[in-house]
């Protein structure tokens, strides 16, 4: 599969959005429980963005607002979009599972959401994408065409 130019600032904004939303839901729900709804909403945003990039809320925020106003500078890198999309989709799936647990077992639901935020933070801060590594492992095992 061919390399293409990917703006890594868009990915960073996406990761920041994930971390911020989970943290607001996590801390905010301690004081105002309905804020937990942010977690299923984030799951929807991530899954929509995986299959239709024009619907990726945080990336669109970057392309439509942050980049044109010079708030975040672009960082184009020759890369493949598939591992990043896979990682985002995986995050979305985990948040769906988290959402299913939020009402019957809030501890489990919140813990899974926190793990998604931790992984997004690791990617944001250290550039280590766990989802991309899983994508590589699946490709190596021949389960996907990596």
């Amino acid at each position: 599969m061919a390399l293409t130019t990917i703006d890594h600032s868009a990915l960073k904004v996406n990761q920041t959005g994930i971390v911020a939303t989970v943290l607001v839901a996590f801390i905010g729900s301690y004081f105002f429980r309905p804020l937990l709804v942010l977690i299923p909403l984030l799951a929807v945003v991530l899954l929509l963005g995986t299959f239709a990039p024009q619907l990726a809320l945080f990336k669109q925020l970057y392309f439509k607002v942050l980049k044109p106003r010079g708030i975040v500078k672009p960082r184009p890198v020759q890369d493949r979009p598939e591992p990043h999309n896979f990682a985002q989709g995986l995050g979305g799936v985990f948040l769906v599972v988290s959402s299913l647990f939020l009402l019957p077992l809030p501890v489990v639901g919140l813990a899974i959401a926190l793990l998604v935020a931790v992984l997004a933070f690791i990617n944001l801060a250290f550039g280590y994408c766990v989802g991309c590594q899983i994508y590589y492992q699946l490709g190596r095992a021949g389960l996907i065409k990596a």
Partner: protein
């Protein structure tokens, strides 16, 4: 204790367990990889395992390798050359292997290895190579 605190404890435990598992896994892979051999060369060299889908390779590892001087770097696509990747137990990308001039793996770095770390490992490999040459002479 509230749900939030229990969730924090649970997520923290999972992160710690994952970190521990990763340490154990990389130590086990490194132990096996250090027994692997490749072709001999005049000087110590580096085998650099990468792949098209590896972003860290392009954004971090390649600039670090570019900072190294006078060293042969064999770039290997880990998915295309699975035989070699399996020989060095490559389970993550990037992976860099510092080889002695006799073709023995001296240092295996799973994940991003900064330039200063590679320089240090190469210096060690060169010292070892020089000592062997002196002993032979």
């Amino acid at each position: 204790m509230s749900s939030q605190l229990w969730a924090l404890a649970a997520a923290g435990s999972v992160v710690l367990a994952a970190a521990g598992l990763e340490l154990w896994r990389s130590a086990a892979a490194r132990r096996h990889a250090l027994e692997a051999k490749s072709g001999p060369a005049v000087e110590p060299y580096i085998i650099y395992f990468t792949g098209e889908g590896c972003t860290v390779c392009r954004t971090h590892q390649e600039p670090a390798l570019a900072r190294l001087h006078d060293v042969r770097i064999d770039k290997v696509d880990a998915l295309a050359d699975r035989g070699l990747a399996d020989r060095f137990h490559v389970y993550t990308l990037p992976t860099t292997v510092v080889m002695s001039s006799e073709g023995r793996a001296l240092h295996v770095n799973y994940g991003y290895a900064p330039a200063n770390k590679l320089e240090r490992q190469l210096a060690e490999a060169r010292r070892e190579s020089d000592m062997k040459e002196t002993a032979t002479a």
